[in-house]
């Protein structure tokens, strides 16, 4: 067995056991564990195993490993912890809380993602504690019309059963279902009407998760409809159907697109990396001599490429192809081709050579944004 696989399996086993232990502790030795929900629990344990396993394998890939290690290194650097923490909080709010970067891609897309994300977050925050026996409600002995939520075995403030608060809390999953279904419908609409999206999407990667989320939400809603207005009509079938949709979704988590939920936070490490890169010594192109990217990034990439089996090292004067800026790379390919046709030029251009320039320097025509313009295509 490969070392990576062994490592990943060990981490996955460890986290699964930890969740098991937390379930026992949080439900006070299973006293508040609802046996009817045992299938959900096992699906969750499987999901934790699968997600941790894939995550651990992923972290061991050379590019991820570099960012992971460097991200922490840079975050914990002495004297920068304060500003790093500030950056972390800003990023958490703008990237994760409000999805600022997705709104910039497209307004409707931003709305879609907000609905899906917050719907799922709300549903998960309610469902998992209930399933694991971490949350239950007790009628108060002296006031049977008041309920007290018990979280992880600890009592919290009680509220009247017939109150707005109770209505909102007990229908939490209904609200989340509405959010998710709204999001799914917007996403489906885009996938069906946008030819560009339709061309590059894969069914399993892009449609299946939407279908699963929709099925979970709809069957959950129908359960509420059944017991609220239809005197429990079809309840058993619906409960079974709902359970199946939830369990399939949980089992699917480690494999498909929904795994991006766990990968995405890597963005935070990258933010630190870029922050430090912007302030550190730039690399200068081996051909045109202009600054591009940071020396740290170029060096890290050389390591990553070597670990991946690429041999961009150069026996000649450049040393490593990575040390040539992207613009000069584009020019070099064409110059090499032209030289094949006319024979090598009689004149050897002295280095640094002139830096190639965009034929159309307009934003979006040449560079896409500040990074393209200033930094990465000098």
């Amino acid at each position: 067995m490969h070392r990576e696989v062994r490592n990943a399996a060990a981490w996955a086993g460890l986290l699964t056991l930890a969740l098991g232990a937390l379930i026992v502790a949080g439900s006070r030795s299973l006293a508040h564990f609802d046996a009817a929900l045992v299938a959900y629990t096992f699906a969750s344990l499987f999901a934790v195993f699968g997600i941790t396993y894939r995550y651990a394998i992923w972290l061991q890939r050379p590019p991820t490993a570099v960012y992971w290690r460097r991200g922490f290194e840079l975050f914990l650097r002495r004297g920068h912890l304060g500003s790093n923490l500030r950056l972390l909080v800003t990023r958490l709010v703008s990237d994760f809380g409000t999805n600022a970067f997705i709104w910039k891609r497209d307004k409707l897309r931003g709305l879609t993602h907000m609905l899906l994300m917050w719907g799922c977050v709300l549903a998960a925050a309610i469902t998992f504690p209930l399933v694991f026996g971490w949350l239950h409600f007790e009628a108060m002995p002296d006031r049977p019309d008041w309920y007290r939520p018990v979280v992880f075995g600890f009592a919290t403030p009680a509220f009247p059963v017939r109150s707005l608060v109770a209505f909102l809390i007990f229908h939490g999953l209904v609200w989340s279902a509405f959010l998710v279904m709204g999001g799914v419908m917007l996403a489906m609409r885009r996938r069906m009407r946008d030819e560009g999206a339709a061309a590059v999407q894969f069914f399993a990667e892009d449609m299946l998760p939407l279908i699963l989320l929709f099925a979970v939400s709809l069957s959950g809603l129908l359960l509420t409809v059944s017991y609220t207005w239809l005197a429990g009509y079809g309840y058993e079938f619906l409960a079974l159907f709902h359970a199946i949709t939830v369990i399939v979704t949980l089992l699917w988590l480690p494999f498909g697109k929904l795994f991006h939920v766990f990968q995405r936070p890597a963005q935070l490490g990258v933010a630190f990396y870029k922050d430090v890169a912007a302030r550190s010594e730039p690399a200068s192109c081996a051909r045109c001599g202009h600054a591009f990217a940071s020396r740290m990034h170029v060096r890290d990439l050389e390591t990553v490429e070597a670990a991946l089996g690429y041999r961009y090292d150069d026996p000649g004067e450049v040393g490593h192809y990575q040390r040539i800026c992207p613009r000069c790379r584009r020019a070099l390919v064409a110059l090499a081709q032209a030289a094949l046709a006319r024979g090598p030029s009689s004149r050897r251009a002295a280095l640094p050579a002139p830096m190639p320039s965009y034929a159309n320097p307009g934003l979006g025509e040449g560079p896409l944004g500040s990074e393209d313009r200033d930094n990465f295509h000098p």
């Binding site: 590019p63 560009g196 590059v200 170029v298 992207p326 979006g364």
Partner: protein, 215 residues
């Protein structure tokens, strides 16, 4: 639907007249609406009219995808390397800096890498990519090898490139002169090549003067 195997992309930078038609056409592709993904550069604007159009070469083992920490770049079964998948890309710039052809672009605000994906919305239903359909000089051409052989009997196609010790094979072909007996294009061999026209400039106009850009 996959892009038919018989249909290939051919690129011949020597023919590029820098007209910007491809840049404009590229913005109309549906997979990256409104942004041009083609990279069109002057090699040495002050001294030469030589321009270079660069599209994604769709490498067989794409460096961009391999160095991506987020698994955001997928290669379809028909050999097209797709632009970064939006839910995954974390905007780290690895692909931008690692692509040997200098293709990907970085959209800072959207935190997203974008690049040419051979107009998959078009090529997967049998149409030509936008750039190839408008290029007046056929520096960018999409079609079959037979068509190419008929149009350019003196050229042959090459899709193997060398960068230092690394050899990369691509789905997109480059046209080279028929008599150039090379198995691969050695990119770094051009390190000291001046842009086309520089020689003439030096001989005719700058005789006796210091070479432009030296130093």
């Amino acid at each position: 639907m996959p892009v038919p195997e018989s249909h290939e992309f051919f690129i011949d930078p020597r023919r590029c007249i820098g007209c910007n038609a491809c840049v404009q056409a590229c913005t109309e592709c549906d997979t990256h609406k409104g942004h041009a993904m083609i990279q069109l550069d002057y090699v040495d604007r002050g001294a030469s009219p030589q321009t270079v159009p660069v599209v994604c070469m769709h490498c067989d083992s794409p460096t961009c995808a391999e160095v991506c920490p987020a698994d955001a770049i997928k290669r379809t079964g028909d050999g097209v390397v797709q632009t970064a998948r939006k839910p995954r890309c974390i905007g780290c710039n690895n692909c931008v800096l690692a692509c040997p052809f200098g293709v990907p672009k970085m959209s800072t605000g959207m935190n997203l890498m974008m690049k040419c994906d051979m107009c998959y919305d078009r090529t997967s239903i049998g149409k030509k990519p936008m750039c190839a359909s408008v290029c007046p000089s056929q520096a960018l051409f999409f079609g079959t090898r037979e068509e190419m052989a008929r149009l350019r009997p003196a050229s042959r196609v090459l899709n193997v490139f060398r960068f230092g010790n690394q050899t990369i094979t691509t789905r997109v072909n480059m046209l080279v002169p028929g008599q150039a007996f090379v198995e691969s294009l050695d990119v770094l061999s051009a390190l000291h090549e001046p842009a086309a026209g520089n020689d003439a400039a030096e001989n005719v106009l700058l005789d006796g003067m210091e070479a432009p850009h030296a130093g």
